[in-house]
């Protein structure tokens, strides 16, 4: 893990979005800096630290924080419980047709992920990317933390006052860099591949309060890098409506060969209750298990 101090000293100059990159090519973990663009589009170096006692955080437009995040491709850095929490915070499900439960106040939330199944899925994913950031930075970037986040952060809040010293902040991050051990899982993505021809990307997510900072793109970029380094170039993603523009920005497009994505959704063919139909639940769907046919039709005559 290396941090370039050069970026820190150019206080007055505008700094590009993606600043520091690790040098080793075989790294599984890297420290990266992400920042929110200021209103004018130019990014400034000054860093504002949110005081824990402040009740009203500043509006996102004036937030110009540089946030260190830690990106890892090491599967052992992914804690299934933390990942499950992230799923909840993002209101996402592993099921394509999730079951929604009424959470009160008109909010529809997805069911929690089956932890055992999640473990199985993680262990059979070819690529796992996880992004962490320090809890204080999560608070700092939240313009409107969900009550769930607030609860978690209240346990981690410290009461000591911090002076707003841009460089000093950065120095603190050098002394106590963000690692998976002292930080919160805020982003994730995985891919399943046959490690020969194809791969599919699943479950890309970033904590809502930290979106718009390039973290999602960083995750997808890293997944692609991991796959292409293993010579996999046929990479697919099944995108819901609101994910489409995100994946487009990440370099995805409609299939050049014009294929159509399809999913198995058959629930029942027979209205006869006597027919023994086996169904399997997948989220809110009850999928029909195709019954075994007695014999195969064989009508073609063979030439001898």
């Amino acid at each position: 893990m290396e941090i370039s101090a050069a970026a820190a000293t150019s206080a007055a100059a505008a700094v590009p979005m993606h600043i520091v990159e690790g040098h080793t090519t075989k790294k599984t973990m890297e420290l990266k800096w992400v920042s929110r663009r200021s209103r004018g589009g130019k990014i400034q170096m000054e860093k504002t630290m949110k005081m824990p006692s402040e009740s009203k955080p500043k509006a996102p437009e004036t937030l110009q924080a540089l946030v260190p995040v830690f990106i890892s491709t090491n599967p052992s850095h992914v804690n299934p419980d933390d990942l499950s929490d992230l799923f909840i915070a993002c209101n996402l499900s592993c099921h394509r047709f999730p079951n929604y439960v009424d959470a009160g106040g008109g909010r529809c939330v997805v069911e929690a992920v089956d932890l055992h199944k999640l473990r199985v899925a993680l262990s059979h994913s070819s690529v796992l990317v996880s992004v962490f950031c320090k809890p204080n930075d999560v608070i700092g970037c939240s313009s409107s933390s969900s009550s769930f986040l607030k609860e978690k952060q209240q346990q981690q809040q410290q009461q000591k006052k911090k002076k707003i010293v841009g460089f000093g902040e950065l120095l603190q991050n050098v002394v106590m860099p963000v690692t998976p051990l002292n930080s919160q899982l805020i982003g994730f993505g995985r891919a399943v591949s046959d490690l020969g021809l194809t791969a599919s990307i699943y479950d890309v997510m970033v904590l809502p309060s930290l979106r718009g900072m390039g973290i999602g793109r960083m995750i997808v970029k890293r997944i692609i890098r991991m796959l292409t380094s293993r010579d996999i170039y046929d990479i697919a993603a099944l995108c819901s409506e609101n994910e489409r523009s995100f994946f487009k920005v990440c370099g995805f497009g409609d299939d050049i060969l014009g294929s159509t994505a399809m999913m198995y959704t058959r629930s029942s063919v027979s209205t006869n209750p006597q027919d023994n139909q086996i169904v399997k639940r997948a989220g809110r769907k009850l999928l029909l298990v195709p019954p075994l046919s007695k014999t195969l039709p064989y009508s073609k005559t063979m030439k001898s």
């Binding site: 394509r96 170039y233 099944l238 014009g258 198995y264 769907k285």
Partner: protein, 181 residues
């Protein structure tokens, strides 16, 4: 015949060879007494050279043999169809020919994608492709893997619709990565 050994028995998976004798087998007897059987297998019993020959037959672009072998090895399930011809008088010299295949990748818990469904043109139109795909679906659902997807060329969309697949359900679209040079 080259054999490219692939793991036929994977721990804890549906990797057992199921050579359907009772309900999956179809036998046809010819005038000269030659018997042809169609055998199902889901144990990954497949020779990569045979597969490439079959891909050539259906007109698919050539793919690297090593990549094909790796893809088969790391698939969750590879279902195959072989035709077995036994001629009287040629005891022990059975002709076994690969005539169909379908495979699926999966994370073993939630998601699966079906790739490479193909049937020898000489055996198409008999429900063999349907049987292959249904076999995959059955195996996946029995393991509670509920997100079963595939990417269908325009001319086979209807084929899959008849098997219970829905195009772009709930606004889900398939997108592919295009490297920018």
């Amino acid at each position: 015949m080259h054999t490219c050994p692939l793991s036929a028995y994977k721990q804890g998976e549906c990797g057992r060879i199921s050579v359907g004798i009772l309900n999956n087998n179809t036998t046809q007897t010819e005038p000269d007494g030659t018997v042809e059987e169609i055998l199902f297998s889901s144990g990954g019993d497949i020779d990569v050279y045979d597969l490439q020959a079959l891909c050539d037959k259906v007109g698919w672009p050539r793919r690297s043999l090593s990549k094909l072998a790796a893809a088969l090895k790391n698939s969750y399930m590879v279902a195959t169809l072989h035709s077995l011809r036994k001629s009287p008088g040629s005891e022990g010299n059975d002709q076994k020919k690969l005539i169909g295949m379908a495979r699926a990748t999966s994370d073993h818990a939630f998601n699966a994608t079906i790739w490479d469904v193909l049937v020898d043109p000489g055996y198409q139109g008999q429900g063999l492709g349907k049987a292959l795909v249904e076999k995959l679906i059955r195996a996946l659902l029995q393991r509670d893997i509920g997100n079963i997807s595939l990417f269908a060329d325009s001319q086979v969309v209807e084929f899959y619709q008849n098997l219970g697949f829905e195009p772009d359900p709930v606004g889900i679209k398939g997108m592919f990565w295009y490297p920018k040079y």
